[in-house]
């Protein structure tokens, strides 16, 4: 009798396993694929570019501007969203959908989102393995850090000019990752999470390393051309330590801007750019 009960319980949990999942955020899509749920992912956000298998999936807008009609039409049994200011959970639940709201804003948030998805989709073991692997890689990067370097990460600027720059400030996910990789964010004291900064601040705080994603219009441009373009803009400021030391790194890979399970890749590359040598 207890066996029958256990059997029933097990099959119930199998039935409860979501079969048609919609993800409205790139980071959550990446977690789903990492947990081996790519096949069951029936809809992704407009901004999901990774892994390649996610690109061809039906698009449902984004968590800020979801296409509710497209989501409903996919008949999902689980919709994944992140914390948002547009009351998305209530809106989706109002049309009878099961919604899971997760937090990807910080590293602990990403790790617990992995746990939670493992539970929700009955992939506990895979989730635990993924989490352990990420934690191990992060700890390895941290253990390697021998010295600290002053760094800034630019996420915005006027195309082709060192004007209208926007940097990564404190409390953000990238700030956390840079710190773990041995970088001291020169704008850690900013009152804004993503402060608008000017060349004056860069001259005064003179970072040793600059991570450059400011020219966002170059999205998808060929890497060599992109590097050349960005570096030519910085060549006008040879008085900056990072420019003199050839430590301006033009980046245009979305691992840096998608909070998700590839954060360990980002940390390893941060380490390599900050200190040289391998981050792995």
């Amino acid at each position: 009798m207890p066996f029958l009960f256990l059997f029933l319980l097990a099959s119930l949990s199998l039935f409860a396993e979501p079969q048609r999942i919609v993800s409205t955020v790139p980071g959550l899509t990446e977690i789903l694929f990492e947990l081996g749920l790519g096949e069951r992912t029936v809809g992704v956000s407009d901004y999901c570019r990774y892994p390649a298998a996610a690109v061809g999936k039906p698009k449902v807008g984004s968590f800020l501007q979801p296409n509710l009609e497209a989501i409903t039409a996919l008949r999902p049994d689980l919709v994944l969203i992140i914390k948002n200011p547009v009351r998305l959970k209530q809106r989706l639940e109002a049309i009878g959908l099961r919604v899971e709201e997760l937090d990807l804003e910080t590293l602990p948030g990403i790790l617990s989102a992995i746990d939670r998805l493992g539970v929700e989709t009955n992939r506990r073991a895979r989730a635990a393995a993924l989490r352990a692997n990420l934690e191990k890689r992060l700890a390895a990067v941290q253990a390697k850090v021998k010295q600290r370097r002053r760094v800034t990460f630019l996420v915005g600027r006027t195309p082709q000019r060192l004007e209208g720059m926007v940097a990564v400030g404190p409390k953000s996910y990238l700030d956390e990752l840079m710190r773990l990789s041995g970088g001291d964010n020169i704008f850690a004291d900013s009152p804004a999470m993503y402060p608008k900064v000017s060349i004056e601040q860069l001259l005064a705080r003179d970072p040793e390393v600059i991570f450059e994603m400011g020219d966002s219009v170059h999205e998808g441009m060929e890497q060599g051309k992109y590097r050349e373009d960005v570096l030519s803009v910085w060549a006008k400021m040879p008085m900056l330590k990072a420019v003199r030391g050839k430590k301006v790194f033009p980046l245009n890979d979305n691992i840096y801007v998608v909070p998700g399970p590839r954060f360990a890749d980002a940390a390893e590359r941060f380490y390599e750019m900050l200190h040289g040598g391998s981050g792995k």
Binding site: P159, S190, E200, V217
Partner: protein
Amino acid sequence: MSRYWSVLGASILISIAALLICPLIGPTPLDFSKIFTEGSLEAQIFWLARLPRVLLALLAGGALASAGVLFQALMRDALATPDTLGVSSGASLGAVVAICFGWADSARLGGLWTASLLGAGIVLMIVVGLSSSGRNVSSFTLLLAGITINSMCVAIMLFLQSVTSLGRSLAITRWLMGGVDAVEYRTLGLLSLFVLPAAVVLIWRSQHWNLLAVGEGWASAKGLDTRSSLRLGYAAGSILAGSVTAITGPIGFAGLIVPHALRMLIGPDHRLLLPTSFLLGGAFLAVCDAIGRTVFAPAELPVGVITALLGGPFFLWVLTSRATIKN
């Protein structure tokens, strides 16, 4: 005439004071004795970051304020601003198109600025075309046409922003926030090639705007060729607004409050109002930007935030105290 020279002299002094003092204000404390020491941090910050920025603010604020004065006179509408004719939105649209289609991607072309000026120019031609067409187009019609052009430009910008890639849409959002930043001296040189001649023409023809501000009938009765004067006025004002917007992005409010505050303080005579607006509009924007780059350092506030928050209450105070005097 002595009042004329004392008011103008005071404006020149205030403007020079802004030019001398504003570069000294900023988030980084500077040892000013080292400003002329080559290679020192003080010199780099002063010459590369602060001075160009203050010069841009002086030019931009002056251009926007004097364009505001002019448009208010030509349209005889208190709410007319440099944006009213749609020239600023034309400039913004040009920039947005450039970002969208990648004309801004090449370092050599300066595509953003060219496209922006082109956008302002196209709107300007529509406006001047309307104002000089065979039929007698009233300033009211022009005002409505400007509002329509504005809405159309905004609609196209929103459309482009929603179909372009995430990266480009971010670049557009940043550009539309507007603001004064440390530009290259070459950019300043180019901007002054547009702004200074246009401002000189405006001030030169002040008497014409005095006549037109009363009414076109009155002006032509006084022997003024109203059509060519209007055309000149709209062209010069649009060049001022368009070329500035091409560099700074949209900056609201400066073109509205500076002209009105000055009109209340020194009177409506354009011979005095135009030069003082140019001088004090510039000083006002330079001071606002000095505040914007300092209060939340190392983060900066777009200058539009300060112009509205600081200028707004002052403008309300001028409005109400003026009303009290009248009563």
